[in-house]
């Protein structure tokens, strides 16, 4: 602070006047891109290889390593059946409580592995006995197993592979080739008719609404693995259009308007699909 009153102020004014003509430090962003440091961590991006294929194979390791769960990954398993999420799981309504359970170290009922449970191999052996262990009659073996268990348990398929000596991959391929084989227990089957009349009457919208309500896709099971949404092969006789069948029972009261609510009510009892808003 100088002794001449006002001199400091005048100096300041002179300084600002000099800076008035000084070069500016602003970076006009869209035209001029700032030089980002090589090591800059600010942006996450997925890498592509030289063929343009995505290198990320959804192994979830980065998401697991992220301390503040800012990485959020979603993917589907190889058969496109189960949507897998990782990340701030509170954002996924169907997995809120799972997150709590997992962090609490509790057992989380995971629908992905429900069909890996052990089965009694006696039935499988009996079926194989009937087909005298012939891998060439695999189709009928598998049909018999499905008739026995209601679906194709993986344990049974492994037993078949072990006993007949045919590769598990071959059996699996056979089982996945034919549409009428199912891998997951389906207690109920919600089916939408795909005949022309139903589609004309809004069967497509109905299917979408049901898919939204059950939180699954056509031909797939609900996240809790309890229900399956499928196409109905043929229109049931005397049923109205559009037609929804629950285990073959036509549900005349379901319309595209109330289908979502109906499906949610249908799926609603199970805690794993209860949403907490």
């Amino acid at each position: 602070m100088s002794f001449v009153p006002g001199m400091g102020i005048l100096k300041g004014m002179a300084l600002t006047l000099r800076r008035f003509f000084a070069p500016k430090v602003t970076i006009r962003y869209p035209e001029v891109t700032p030089d980002i440091a090589v090591k800059y961590r600010g942006r996450m991006q997925l890498l592509y290889d030289e063929h343009g294929a995505l290198k990320c194979e959804t192994c979830f390791q980065c998401a697991q390593a992220c301390p503040i769960e800012c990485i959020d990954m979603g993917g589907t398993d190889t058969k496109g059946r189960y949507a897998v999420h990782w990340g701030a799981s509170e954002t996924y309504g169907e997995r809120r409580e799972e997150a709590a359970l997992r962090r609490a170290g509790r057992e989380v009922p995971d629908p992905t592995y429900t069909h890996f449970e052990a089965v009694d191999t006696a039935a499988v052996d009996r079926i194989l006995e009937d087909h005298d262990y012939d891998p060439h009659r695999m189709l009928s073996i598998l049909e018999a197993i499905q008739a026995e268990f209601g679906h194709l348990p993986v344990a049974a398929l492994k037993q078949v592979s072990f006993t007949t000596g045919s590769w598990y991959a071959m059996i699996y391929g056979t089982a996945t080739y034919y549409r009428h084989f199912r891998f997951e227990k389906t207690v109920e089957q919600v089916a939408v008719c795909r005949c022309t009349a139903c589609l004309m009457q809004g069967g497509g919208r109905l299917a979408d609404a049901l898919a939204a309500g059950l939180r699954t896709g056509l031909g797939q099971v609900t996240p809790d693995g309890r229900m399956r949404l499928a196409w109905l092969p043929t229109h049931l006789a005397g049923a109205p259009a559009p037609l929804v069948a629950l285990d073959g029972e036509p549900q005349p009261e379901v319309t595209p308007a109330n289908a979502t609510a109906w499906a949610q009510a249908l799926a609603g009892e199970h805690p794993a699909t209860r949403t907490i808003h």
């Binding site: 009153p5 300041g12 300084l15 090591k39 800059y40 961590r41 301390p67």
Partner: protein
């Protein structure tokens, strides 16, 4: 202590209606002696609620001022708008994750709130940090200190009504932040220090930016300060404002520049040396006045000292690794460790208790801003409303650190 029952907000017994400005305004039930003393208004006194949306409360702070006319009689800071419960989070995440969780505490100088927990974890694990890593820590830390003080300069001038210095100091801070981004990978929350070293060695980009900046840093910083240091209006406002004497500063647990501005040469870098500070030579600037001007000038002196330290670091930088060899999963022996570092605002300390698992049993974060905000209530009464923010800015609290 009996568990208190949950009160309901619309319970009329909880609010004392006070006839004031022609309307009844509810005042919370006085729970403590201090609150009772604060909330009974004499004639001519009224309550003025400053913040949390006030333009110049640093961060999200709410201050209830008791004023008579323009004069502040008393004030009551209300905290907690940024409270994350980071200590609880730390108890639930393992030692590596905690570092990134603690970054946002002191978002202006976040290297220092990584430094103290990292040091305490190293004590728990009996890790010897490589000397090069220590030098890099000191180097980046001092850079961050300069950035923080530059921001203080801008804030202080802004709270006194000058709008230019903050942008000039941001121009400085931006260069430092860019070069720190070149080595740490982030601009604000550098998640850089690791247990047993640092994440990544010095790279060429950082060194070139640093050399470029160091060549003209001194002149630029002086020019930036020149706008204020000689300005009559500024000096007249800051001098003799919010005087904090030596004994009071010690009794109020003030640390850092605010303590040194009151004549106590207490700097943890010298008082309780850590890292490689014993090998570096620098001075501890101290001032006797203890007013806002002294605090401002002291910080500017510290900037000059930090430039010296950076210079020495660059000259004495040893070779070698920057990370100690450690297992991926850290399970320190059960024990307790306390470590403190000298940040731009004072003593950042961390008190960690381990029980042998991969998560700390208890992690206590001590932030200087918390205690310096407490000083405001002491320095403020008797001054004008115009000086509330001036005094607060001269103490330089960061609400992220206050609220944890």
């Amino acid at each position: 202590m009996t568990t208190p029952t949950r009160p309901s907000l619309d319970d009329p017994s909880l609010t004392i209606p006070v006839e004031h400005a022609g309307i009844f305004e509810p005042i919370p039930l006085a729970r403590t002696e201090r609150q009772r003393e604060f909330y009974d208004l004499r004639d001519g006194e009224m309550l003025l609620n400053m913040g949390p949306q006030h333009p110049s409360t640093h961060g999200v702070l709410r201050v209830v001022l008791k004023i008579s006319g323009e004069q502040v009689v008393d004030l009551d800071p209300v905290l907690g708008y940024l409270h994350r419960g980071v200590e609880k989070i730390a108890e639930n995440s393992d030692f590596h994750h905690i570092i990134s969780q603690l970054d946002p505490l002191e978002y202006v100088a976040s290297l220092f709130c990584e430094w103290s927990p990292v040091m305490s974890f190293e004590k728990l694990l009996d890790v010897q940090v490589p000397r090069r890593a220590e030098y890099i820590r000191v180097l980046t830390g001092e850079l961050n200190r300069i950035a923080s003080h530059m921001l203080f300069l801008g804030w202080y001038a802004l709270d006194l009504g000058g709008i230019t210095p903050i942008l000039w100091s941001f121009a400085e801070r931006d260069e430092i932040v860019e070069m720190l981004a070149a080595i740490t990978g982030a601009k604000l929350l550098f998640n850089y220090f690791r247990i047993g070293g640092v994440n990544g060695d010095l790279n060429h980009e950082f060194m070139s930016r640093l050399g470029d900046w160091m060549s003209r840093a001194g002149a630029q910083l002086e020019a930036g300060m020149g706008l204020l240091n000689e300005n009559e209006i500024f000096v007249r406002r800051a001098r003799g404002l919010g005087v904090l004497d030596r004994e009071t500063a010690l009794r109020m647990c003030a640390t850092g520049p605010n303590l040194r501005a009151s004549g106590v040469p207490f700097d943890i870098r010298r008082a309780h040396p850590y890292s490689v500070y014993p090998e570096l030579e620098f001075e501890i600037p101290t001032r006797r006045e203890g007013d806002s001007l002294a605090r401002y000038l002291l910080r500017m002196d510290e900037v000059r000292q930090s430039l010296r330290i950076i210079d020495q670091c660059l000259h004495q930088m040893p070779d070698g690794p920057v990370m100690a060899r450690l297992p991926r999963l850290l399970r320190p022996r059960p024990g307790r460790a306390y470590s403190a570092v000298e940040g731009p605002r004072g003593q950042y300390s961390c008190y960690a208790i381990s029980d042998g698992t991969d998560q700390p049993f208890r992690l206590r974060i001590h932030d200087p801003s918390f205690l310096h905000l407490q000083l405001v209530g002491l320095l403020m009464p008797g001054n004008l409303i115009a000086d509330t923010m001036a005094i607060m800015a001269s103490l330089d609290p960061v609400m992220g650190g206050v609220d944890k």
